[in-house]
Subunit: 199 residues, 2 copies
């Protein structure tokens, strides 16, 4: 998993040099742990990052907050994809392809699912990205509704839960290899899309 580095203009916090260094170390370690599927324990993160425990807790009050920070590049990538999708002209194809890409991203990057599954965010940056993303989800679905190709009984508010459901279904009894998990998730999404499409 690697994303293009995007420099964000920090509106609020001009972090001190050592603080920034530690922040990066912590996120680095966190990313490694998330990737290998280890459940995140903040004290362990501190040790692995060669940083005091309090430093970790200062930056990230809970493991979820750390996961959110780790998820930010992935969320940004999704936003970019959603923008591309909205630029497409076939509402159904745009929606479908975006959702396939989303599912694949969520399997590949294990920091994403928990962020979508939890209702509120610990980090403002994540909250903002999620909100934008959900908005774009909504537009994509609205377009499909307007074109009469998507079941109007399924609303914008349903889309995120349904996608979480697909992810969950594909990982409850997890397939051994990552490619298998992607394939399974795609299959389940196909079923969902079939159910979503009007005929």
């Amino acid at each position: 998993m690697s994303y293009p580095v995007i420099v964000v203009s920090m509106t609020a916090a001009p972090l001190r040099k050592d603080a920034a260094r530690n922040w990066h170390r912590i996120v680095e370690v966190g990313r490694r742990l998330v990737e290998e599927g280890t459940p995140i324990q903040l004290n362990d993160v501190a040790r692995a990052a060669e940083v005091g425990v309090a430093t970790v807790y200062r930056h990230f009050p809970t493991p979820e907050a750390l996961v959110e920070a780790i998820a930010v590049p992935g969320l940004e990538a999704q936003v970019a994809r959603a923008e591309e999708a909205l630029a497409g002209d076939d509402p159904w194809v745009s929606l479908r392809d975006f959702l396939y890409a989303a599912v694949e991203a969520q399997i590949t990057d294990p920091s994403l699912p928990p962020v979508f599954a939890s209702a509120e965010s610990a980090l403002p940056r994540t909250a903002e990205l999620k909100e934008r993303l959900v908005g774009m989800f909504g537009q994509l679905l609205e377009r499909a509704h307007a074109a009469g190709v998507a079941d109007p009984a399924v609303t914008t508010a349903d889309l995120v839960p349904l996608m979480c459901g697909v992810m969950f279904a594909a990982t409850v009894h997890p397939a051994p290899s990552a490619p298998d998990r992607v394939a399974t998730a795609r299959r389940y999404l196909t079923v969902l899309l079939d159910g979503l499409r009007t005929r």
Copy 2:
């Protein structure tokens, strides 16, 4: 939530009188906790059941084991329903109605979802019930396949994960009231069934 009492002929263990009494007390407390959504802590259960900690751990080595014991009546009820469904003559209607009932049961009885979500069982009784149930799921789906009304791309092995996905989708951002949650779950199952059905 209440089920008819079904006396099971214990093949292996004729429990001593006091042991049986404690077992019931523990399960009773456990059921109450599960119903009110409190995460199960075995030491708390012991205190609430007015029983030693070791007694609880002896009967149920892990919280999951206790949950499984609590889920048994619910599982038995599902088996009964599945048998009824298999007695029906329209493959699609049987499958559909059974799945609706299953979803409703799983929302109503919070001990059920974790049992289906975890791959292996701590209690032999639960393992047996789950196995039977999955087998009947399979038959129901097979019949639908044979009648050409269900997408052959979705196999028996997919059915449980997909149902778990529906459950998850309906509870990620949980609706306040239980009836609302049931309604949501039914809606999501409708989408799944639409995607499952061949046209």
